[in-house]
Symmetry: C2
Subunit: 379 residues, 2 copies
């Protein structure tokens, strides 16, 4: 099997990640208040993971790294908890439903006004649109770092600079970038960075979180046991406990910690470059085919390791099925939870077949995928 | 090390649970729409886990088993999502902060009116109080199955019968009972059963969920990617997708599936009986000591495998520290996130030292804990 669905989840994890989860499952207590070694052991690993992620993302305070079960939860906490009733919010056509649906919810339930920066037919944004759309009551900009469909990398630093100048909260969805593309919250002007653990970070499913800039107020989505201040009627106000109720997935976080260490040791730039070069190799292998339509602007060299395409007018699910059954190649068809992006690309009916690459893929696998697409295109 | 903090998390897991997680981390794609084997493999394991839990808990529909990252999240979804603004709600002094804090939140933010069935000095409820407290506008009863502090088992079936007669929504926190005490949602009249995976069920941290009776309406707490109906602006209405946004912790759920199978094969009654007998053995070993105060009513034989106590007027944290450092015994001191229970027991200042037992503990370990308490009590 050749696994090219890494934008959904990186199937192959570093051996250290699995070993760390196994070790945690054999040794960890519950990481809340508790004096015994097993509880302290869990607390320490969790704190180490906060430190590792704070360093990776340029977050000045490890205690402002909050853990969630995935990036969707982090985005819900950020969007529901930090955007005030009736505010104007700017987002983009590139967003995943994990951004769109929480925003539509605020529109329906809390009178939030939404504007979307449109994507053109190649999935690109016009950055001047952000400035044009800003109003006096604009409370937040919510934007993905990388499109999960076209691989377009958004110039987050540029938007962050604008947001900071105008005093607008800036929330970034790093689901497709964390682990492969450098992120520096401070330099990029990001207020809340939401990430998942099981994609580019190569950690276990059930992990993710958000880095919150000091001073940003977020109302918790959930409340419950905190292990501290147990006689308070409400969740403690201090980060990270403020946004973390109940027992964390410390088993998974031990794996995420090992994954971040693996990335640090290997080099995030090196990992990203390999992934991008495999995607480029794949693109170049199929781009000349008249019967293949590739989405996105490939004149840009710096892009996420994702290639979405269609063959003739074939339904994307049928193509993906054929790739799986006849060639043993795992891809993802359909809408990829990115409805506005498909509307911009004109692919709402057909969807698209997405090939997404990871550090563990090889040139041989990439070439096999090229040959498979060429054969299907010739049929 | 003798681990007697199983009410916080069962440290020791069946070997099959760890093996299942490892296997999942080596083979699973992302369990949403996707045709390839790895995605289908993840979907199948998740569905199997729903079926196993539906059977375990007497939930008539596997698709109404919803996964969350822990029971706190499940309780937040249930309490925030199913209780209407301004309703009257009955709960009890036995509750954990994962019930209390979401209820206090509704009190502050949505005008919900709260009444608590009081616990007496031995932590017992008077069931007639539930009937007395019911009013025409009572919308819900929220109740734990087992006190995490005294081990008192609440007669859920009795409350459920009353709730059903009166047409009142009945939400049960099974954090301390799932896996050790039989639960049958239908027979017990439970509308929403919230559970965690990492305690009595002996699964990984980061797993948990809720079983929802058919026809119960719950407004989602989070919205996002669902893999289906991607062009809808809001989360799909069908269970379980309705309440599950983003990528599930399928690695953890594979472990939970193996854990439930282990319990099924071993026998839940057998597991529960062993745990209870170890707790009873421990209780009987220390109950005669004048300088030891044990909390809860031990004239009842049928109780959760938990013994909370204090020695003289010693701070519970100091006793727990001594047990850990001098005897290698892991217990939990303090408030256990159960503030109303400590108020009822008169232990808000001192807290209590909790010994909690699991299937993997032994009589020898129990006897060592007895000797340790006797020595500390003699000092």
């Amino acid at each position: 099997m050749i696994y090219l669905d890494n934008a959904a989840t990186t199937l192959r994890k570093p051996r250290e990640v699995i070993d760390a989860v196994v070790s945690a499952m054999q040794s960890m207590g519950n990481a809340s208040r508790g004096a015994h070694d097993e509880a302290l052991h869990a607390s320490r690993i969790i704190y180490d993971t906060r430190c590792a992620l704070a360093e990776l993302f340029g977050c000045s305070r490890p205690d402002h790294v909050v853990f969630t079960c995935n990036s969707t939860e982090a985005l819900n906490i950020a969007i529901q908890g930090a955007i005030r009733t009736g505010a104007h919010v700017i987002s983009t056509d590139l967003e995943h439903n994990s951004v769109l649906r929480p925003l539509y919810r605020l529109q329906e339930e809390r009178g939030v006004l939404l504007d979307f920066v449109p994507a053109d037919r190649s999935g690109k944004l016009d950055y001047d649109d952000f400035e044009r759309l800003i109003r006096p009551d604009t409370g937040a900009i919510v934007c993905t770092h990388v499109s999960n469909l076209t691989g377009e990398i958004v110039d987050i630093g540029r938007i962050g600079k604008l947001a900071r100048e105008k005093g607008i909260l800036f929330i970034v969805d790093a689901s497709q970038s964390a682990g492969s593309i450098p992120i520096d919250m401070e330099k990029m002007g990001i207020d809340i960075l939401c990430f998942t653990g099981h994609k580019g970070l190569m950690g276990p499913q059930g992990t993710g979180g958000m880095c919150v800039r000091e001073g940003v107020e977020i109302h918790p989505l959930k409340e419950g046991g905190s292990g501290v201040q147990s006689y308070r009627h409400r969740q403690p106000e201090e980060y990270p406990t403020r946004l973390e109720a109940g027992t964390l997935n410390a088993h998974g976080l031990a794996g995420l910690n090992a994954a971040v260490e693996y990335i640090r040791r290997t080099g995030l730039e090196k990992i990203g470059e390999k992934e991008r070069s495999l995607a480029r190799r794949f693109y170049e292998g199929v781009a000349d085919l008249d019967s293949v339509k590739v989405y996105g602007d490939f004149s840009t060299q710096y892009r996420g390791p994702v290639v979405a395409l269609n063959i003739r007018d074939y339904d994307s699910s049928e193509v993906s099925d054929a790739l799986s059954q006849d060639y043993g190649i795992a891809t993802r068809p359909g809408a990829h939870c990115a409805p506005r992006m498909h509307e911009a690309l004109g692919t709402t009916g057909q969807g698209a077949v997405r090939f997404s690459f990871s550090w563990f893929n090889t040139e041989e696998e990439t070439d096999t995928a090229v040959r498979a697409v060429r054969e299907l295109a010739d049929e």
